[in-house]
């Protein structure tokens, strides 16, 4: 007898929500043991045909997987629970992905939520305080200002200290193309709202796959992509009001006249002499005698600004094709007069599945950024130098329109009135990939990336500006930088019994070319004709081309055995045109291992300890951040009286090779109470040898330095990351993330001896770029002379700590480091019913900052520059105990470079506070709105520091590309404090 049986198939419907009751789109539903499955739509609804008795598996990233057996009911609604095991989250690594659980590397991740909290046009700024061991510093308060990222300290003396930026798998152009020594952040053309996540590869085992450029860390930027399901439209609009985070106190007219009269008399002059000087710069005697003019020049330079940000993105797609389309507009009026930035951006990311084996996709980002720029910090025309002007000088003529031309220094207001400086940046980032599944476990992926950075910078200085003597000046400078990258690699993934094995092998070729054209002219017929076309005299111009390339092979293999023993090894072989013929290739290996102890039987069911993992890694990375032809001796073109000439431009070392960094990292991860509390602790030790050093040579050779591989330095430190979920109730969620890290940097070998650049020194046994200067010892109580500690060597070998008023008798000493030895960040996220709140504190300790402008700003009235109010505490009569020497006009009383102008740069900053309110979806749904959130963000709300300058992080932009001249403030504007109101709408 045959028995016919068939499974009874029925249609199951249902709605999936998260624990807050919100529908979850995109949840995967699969019938266990089959390939049949579906996804929930945008309303969290699904429908699937299944036989009674079969098991449905519901999976969604970040939520606990649920299983339901199909029974009689044709409706299965599920409220998914958040999975506290966040350690299973996906992590992007070089040429692939991994999971947090299986990673043996040290990688910091920052999500789009964190990125969107920071209202600045520069994407790197959003990383501040978010990642242990990563110091992010904006050079100064200009909108396009350069940003320095230092991962685990500074691992070089003369070559690049910047990490490698990789977007969607393709290395990015990251060269600052300014023409006036005021850097432009090369990533300012990226719209932060398009970014899904940023991972920072910090240790050698993660970065070594990027070989010669891994030493300074690798920043992997991943842009947002579409998901199958209902089309989602998101709108974000915000407006912010900015002001400077800090202003300083300067003398008003009364105080100025008093102090400078005193200073004139102290220098052997009379009151009449002082009056003569004052009259030179005042229009009328009454202006200074009767206080009739009292200009606050700082208020003219630092102004109220604003930040406007608008973005729309549309994402969605079918099973076969997914898309993410976005457009954004940002307008930032900086807090420095005349500095503005506008950015328009478009992005379209499309993925398509041709067959179950073949996938293709493209990511394209296009943007245009227009910036109204300022002169660098070391020019009279930069706004902040206006604080040197005298308080009784009027800013404008009596009509209030034309700036006053009779000021002590060039009046920067002419820049606004009679000059123009604008840069336009067009950036195209495109990346095409194809991925072919050769067998079930073997995959081939080919990526072609193209990055184009086109920058046109134009300046005009009219007949009333500093270019008055030539009836105006204009220039135009165009730079085209293009890079193409080809990556081809195989990925292999297979499970052999209890071993999960994965491997990657491939090659990469990168070609970077740069062209530049410039022209300049003077003698303009009219201030209304502002391009070089109208210049009667073309005074300069040029064009140049340069290139470099990299050819690399890489491989990586990893295995996870029994879910608890993890092993990984990688190898990269890099070749570059930048290096001498004999040293063109370098090999960069790395190995790492991890042990998830909590998977062992003796811990497996421990209620308290949910995760215990130890890991260790070692690897070698390189640094290739030197000039394109640094290994060669070169002659370049010159001219004399418009005749052609040649001169040596650099001295080369043909054996120049990669700078090598060997780094090991030991880490331990804990998870408690189902990972409600997780702790990561790491120790790292980074040794850099064969430093690419601009080794100073005696200048009697005709040269001052040569790039050579000499010396060694070391960075070591601890990093701790503590993440806690304090409450995860349905209507109250509170999580905290705290990171703290230490770094100790030491030059361990410097065979050529000290390298001194201005007030910074590279010296064996000291931190790179330590401050090196004469020690100031206050004012002599007897006569008000500035005193300095001799610090010379006594015959018996001790140090002479006596003081002298003769600066040349005092020796310079190492007097601080520009780098912090402790940095920390603390973030909290709180959701209460429909309200959300988050805030971040960041801080640093142990760094010093040198105010080079102090020699003019706080100089005991040495010159006519207006002085900071603290100069009123000057020595006046015998017995006065003060740090401010007697005021002496032209007396240079303590104005030499000394620790008088060196201060601690410790600070704690309330980086951002955000308050949000989401209108209940029952209300908004009536208007077809999925989500409507209103928010308020305060950025840089509070800064606690003892530094008396504008800001402990703001440093001189004109030498910000000099690796040694670090931590020097020179009329450097503070960052903006911005209060923003915004709205998010999702349809």
């Amino acid at each position: 007898m045959t028995y016919l049986s068939y499974a009874q198939e029925k249609t199951i419907n249902g709605t999936i929500t998260d624990q807050d009751g919100l529908p979850l789109p995109g949840v995967n539903i699969q019938i266990n043991g089959t390939h049949t499955g579906t996804q929930t739509d945008f309303d969290g609804k699904y429908s699937i045909n299944a036989t009674v008795g079969s098991v449905l598996i519901y999976t969604y990233i970040g939520q606990k997987t649920e299983e339901r057996t199909v029974g009689n009911s044709s409706t299965i609604d599920i409220t998914m629970q958040e999975d506290a095991q966040a350690l299973d989250e996906v992590v992007i690594v070089g040429y692939g992905t991994s999971t947090k659980r299986e990673v043996t590397d040290n990688i910091a991740s920052v999500s789009s939520e964190d990125i969107n909290l920071i209202p600045t046009p520069s994407v790197q700024s959003t990383l501040s305080g978010k990642a242990a061991g990563v110091q992010v510093t904006q050079v100064n308060g200009k909108a396009e200002s350069g940003i320095k990222i230092r991962v685990r300290g500074v691992a070089t003396i003369s070559s690049s200290q910047e990490p490698l930026y990789v977007i969607d798998g393709v290395p990015m152009i990251n060269s600052d193309e300014n023409i006036n020594d005021s850097p432009i952040n090369p990533l300012v053309s990226l719209n932060p709202n398009d970014i899904e996540s940023i991972e920072i590869l910090k240790d050698a085992s993660s970065a070594a796959i990027y070989g010669a450029r891994g030493t300074n860390g690798v920043v992997l930027i991943t842009t947002k992509r579409g998901k199958a399901g209902k089309t989602k439209v998101s709108i974000n609009s915000s407006y912010g009001w900015s002001k400077p985070t800090n202003k300083r106190d300067f003398l008003n007219t009364r105080e100025y006249v008093d102090l400078f009269t005193e200073a004139t008399i102290n220098s052997g002059g009379t009151e009449d002499d002082a009056a003569y000087y004052f009259n030179l710069f005042a229009e009328n005697e009454a202006d200074w005698r009767n206080n009739e003019v009292d200009t606050d020049w700082q208020d003219l330079a630092l102004v109220d600004g604003s930040v406007e940000d608008f973005g729309v993105n549309v994402s969605g797609g079918s099973e076969k094709t997914q898309f993410f389309l976005s457009t954004g507009y940002n307008k930032t009026d900086a807090i420095i007069r005349g500095n503005k930035l506008e950015r328009y951006s478009l992005r379209s990311n499309i993925d398509h599945t041709i067959s179950n084996k073949f996938k293709v996709g493209i990511s394209t980002g296009i943007s245009k950024t227009k910036i109204d720029r300022l002169s660098n910090d070391n020019s009279f025309s930069t706004p902040l130098q206006a604080i040197a002007q005298l308080p009784f000088s009027k800013p404008y003529e009596d009509n209030g329109v034309v700036p006053n031309g009779s000021t002590l220094y060039y009046n920067f207001l002419f820049q606004e009135y009679n000059a123009d400086h604008q840069v336009n940046i067009w950036r195209v980032l495109a990346n095409l990939y194809g991925e072919y599944q050769i067998t079930q476990s073997l995959k081939f992926r080919s990526e072609f990336g193209y990055d184009f950075n086109n920058q046109v910078e134009e300046r005009f200085f009219g007949s009333l500006t500093e270019s008055a003597s030539t009836n105006g000046y204009a220039d135009a400078n165009a730079v085209e930088n293009e890079k193409y990258v080809l990556n081809n690699y195989f990925s292999f993934d297979k499970t052999f019994s209890n071993i999960d094995f994965n491997a990657v092998a491939g090659m990469s070729y990168e070609d970077d070319r740069r062209r530049l054209q410039s022209v300049e002219g003077q003698e303009f017929p009219s201030d209304d004709l502002q391009t070089v076309d109208s210049a009667a005299e073309i005074t300069g111009g040029g064009s140049s081309r340069t290139a470099y390339n990299f050819l690399s092979y890489f491989g990586r293999a990893g295995a996870t055995i029994a879910g608890k023993y993890i092993l990984k090894a990688s190898l990269r072989y890099d070749g570059s045109s930048r290096f001498g013929k004999d040293e063109r290739y370098g090999l960069f290996p790395a190995v790492s291992a991890g042990w998830i102890i909590s998977e062992e039987n003796f811990l497996k069911n421990n209620e308290t300890l949910s995760l215990l993992k130890i890991r260790g890694s070692w690897g070698i990375t390189g640094n290739a951040g030197i000039g394109n032809f640094a290994s060669r001796s070169l002659f370049g073109g010159a001219s004399y009286n418009e005749r052609a000439a040649l001169s040596p431009t650099q001295l080369g070392d043909p054996s120049l090779k990669w700078e090598n960094t060997s780094q090991y990292d030991l880490g331990i991860d804990f998870g408690f109470f189902n990972n409600r509390i997780s702790l990561e602790a790491d120790y790292y030790n980074k040794n850099t040898s064969d430093l690419l050093l601009d080794q100073p040579v005696p200048s009697s050779s005709g040269f001052t330095s040569i790039t050579q591989n000499v010396g060694e330095l070391k960075n070591e430190g601890f990093e701790f990351v503590l993440n806690t979920k304090n409450f995860i109730k349905e209507d109250f969620f509170w999580s905290t993330s705290f990171n703290i890290s230490t770094n100790k940097n030491e030059i361990t070998e410097l065979p050529g001896g000290d390298i001194i650049s201005g007030r910074n020194i590279a010296r064996e046994g000291e931190t790179v770029a330590s401050f090196y200067m004469v020690e100031f010892a206050g004012a002599d109580p007897d006569n008000g002379d500035a005193l300095f500690v001799r610090n010379t060597l006594n015959p018996d070998g001790t140090i002479d700590r006596s003081t002298t008023n003769e600066f040349n008798e005092a020796s310079r000493v190492v007097s601080g480091s520009p780098f912090p030895d402790l940095i920390a960040g603390l973030s909290n996220t709180i959701r209460f019913k429909d309200f959300d709140m988050s805030f971040t504190f960041q801080g640093q300790w142990g760094a010093s900052i040198y105010n080079d402008g102090g020699r003019f700003q706080s100089a005991s009235a040495d010159y006519f520059d207006n002085q900071t109010s603290d100069q009123l505490d000057r020595w006046q009569q015998p017995g006065d105990i003060t740090d401010v020497p007697q005021a002496r006009l032209f007396g240079a009383n303590g104005t030499q470079q000394s620790t008088r102008y060196l201060q601690e740069a410790d600070f704690i900053r309330l980086r951002n506070v955000t308050l949000g309110y989401t209108i209940p979806s029952e209300v908004t749904k009536k208007f077809q709105v999925e989500r409507l959130r209103l928010y308020f963000t305060a950025f840089n709300l509070l800064t606690f520091t003892d530094y008396t300058g504008w800001d402990p992080e703001s440093t001189a932009d004109f030498n910000s590309n000099n690796d040694l001249a670090v931590g020097v403030d020179f009329y450097s504007a503070p960052p903006a404090q911005t209060l923003t109101l915004g709205i998010n709408i999702d349809f």
Partner: protein, 451 residues
């Protein structure tokens, strides 16, 4: 089958890419030449020689800072430094720090210029024509001798006429450096050795150079500089004869008006050598510091203005006394008013003053009597002749004629005068060896008075 087909495509793609990419690692710079190419042809040696003038004329050297340093070091109230730069301010106060960047630049660029001259001298074998070869050698030696004279005047104690001059001079480097292995760590030669080097170079230059050589150094430029050196040494007969040779044979004559000698975009008849400046290349840094913002200077009142004591040298009438303009409350010299004018180096008026002084001291009348010569200079400036001239009259005439042209400190040292309370040979009137070179060359000894 489809799979293997695609696999084959992938494989062949990879092969093509890998092979073609490896070749691309050989890139050549497009704006630069290798030393072999740069020194391999006659034309390029000429280019390097021209480059030496470019270096010597830059702002840190004869473009202005050499003269500024001399005038400020000598200043005792005749000029006023009102600029914000602290480096010249240190010169003015005679309290110079070893890290003063103007001092370092003078030294660094000075030796860079010397190296450039040495590169020419070491590669003359590629020059085929003898006359070209001689000219190039002469010009290179002129530049090298000039630089050594300038360095030893600033960085060493004054030359003493009647002594051995065995004090510390500056390092003498005569071999070119174009690759790292050629770097030397020289110690300081004596003052007398450096003077000899300069005189030998300039004497060779005199013998090798043609009678005239456009805007570049010729025979008489070398001779004129030798006259200047002999005067500095107190070797008056030699100074007189050299100056006489220049005046008699070079063809250079004083301009008809005093004004005509200055602010020229093209050399005047008076210029034996001037550093060429155009709007496109070269720089007139004397204009930067000695003129008002209106004319291209750094400040409204000019960084350097002229004080009343200087005007005491004059009696009315004298065109040179009126060669000033008003700079927002200050008196500013007109000598450096034009922003793109050539920077004066040696003008024939100086030769007349050298010949007159030397004739007077030696009691001779080579070429012309001292009195006639001085009065000729005075007549050009519409000043009344001085009858029965004295040595002091001649020296004062130098102040009237050559002020603010970089002679001040060197004249004080040669004439054993004081700067305020400081005697001519005070340690603080000698520049320190730049700290960066003390740090990089253990064989260098610092000057006394500097730490």
């Amino acid at each position: 089958m489809k799979t293997t087909y695609i696999n084959r495509i992938i494989l062949s793609l990879l092969t093509v890419v890998l092979i073609s990419c490896a070749d691309n690692l050989n890139l050549e710079p497009e704006q630069s030449l290798t030393p072999d190419a740069a020194t391999g042809s006659e034309k390029n040696i000429q280019n390097i020689l021209t480059g030496a003038y470019d270096l010597a004329g830059q702002g840190e050297l004869y473009g202005g800072q050499i003269y500024l340093a001399s005038e400020l070091l000598a200043n005792d109230g005749e000029i006023f430094w009102g600029g914000t730069f602290s480096q010249p301010g240190e010169f003015n106060r005679k309290r110079i720090t070893t890290t003063n960047s103007f001092v370092a630049d003078l030294w660094i660029e000075g030796y860079e210029t010397i190296n450039q001259a040495n590169i020419v001298l070491d590669n003359l074998n590629v020059v085929t024509e003898d006359s070209d070869k001689n000219r190039m050698e002469g010009e290179a030696k002129f530049i090298r001798g000039m630089m050594y004279f300038e360095l030893v005047r600033f960085f060493a104690q004054p030359y003493e006429t009647t002594q051995a001059n065995n004090g510390l001079g500056v390092p003498i480097v005569l071999n070119s450096v174009t690759d790292a292995s050629q770097i030397e760590f020289p110690s300081r030669s004596t003052i007398s050795e450096v003077y000899s080097q300069a005189i030998n170079d300039l004497t060779d230059a005199y013998n090798l150079l043609p009678e005239s050589n456009e805007e570049f150094a010729d025979k008489y430029t070398a001779e004129a500089l030798l006259a200047r050196i002999y005067l500095q040494q107190g070797n008056y007969p030699a100074a007189r004869d050299a100056a006489n040779d220049v005046i008699e044979n070079s063809g250079h004559v004083i301009t008809t008006t005093y004004e005509g000698a200055f602010n020229n975009e093209f050399n005047s008849t008076e210029d034996i050598l001037a550093w060429q400046v155009t709007a496109q290349d070269g720089i007139n840094d004397m204009n930067t510091y000695w003129s008002t913002r209106e004319f291209g200077g750094r400040s409204l009142t000019a960084d350097v203005s002229i004080e009343l004591p200087y005007f005491d040298y004059f009696t009315v009438p004298d065109d040179r006394m009126d060669f000033f303009y008003e700079g927002n409350g200050t008196d500013v010299t007109t000598k450096w008013q034009a922003q793109f004018a050539n920077v004066l180096f040696i003008r024939v008026a100086e030769m007349h003053l050298i010949r007159a002084e030397s004739n007077f001291r030696e009691g001779t009348g080579v070429g012309m009597s001292a009195e006639d010569e001085i009065n000729a200079i005075r007549t050009r400036a519409n000043a009344d002749p001085i009858p029965g001239i004295t040595l002091q009259d001649i020296l004062d005439e130098r102040k009237r004629e050559l002020a603010f042209e970089g002679f001040a400190i060197h004249d004080i040292k040669r004439l054993h005068l004081n700067v305020g309370n400081l005697p001519y040979n005070d340690e603080s009137l000698v520049l320190p060896i730049p700290q960066r070179d003390i740090d990089t060359n253990d064989n260098l000894e610092q000057n006394p008075g500097y730490n």
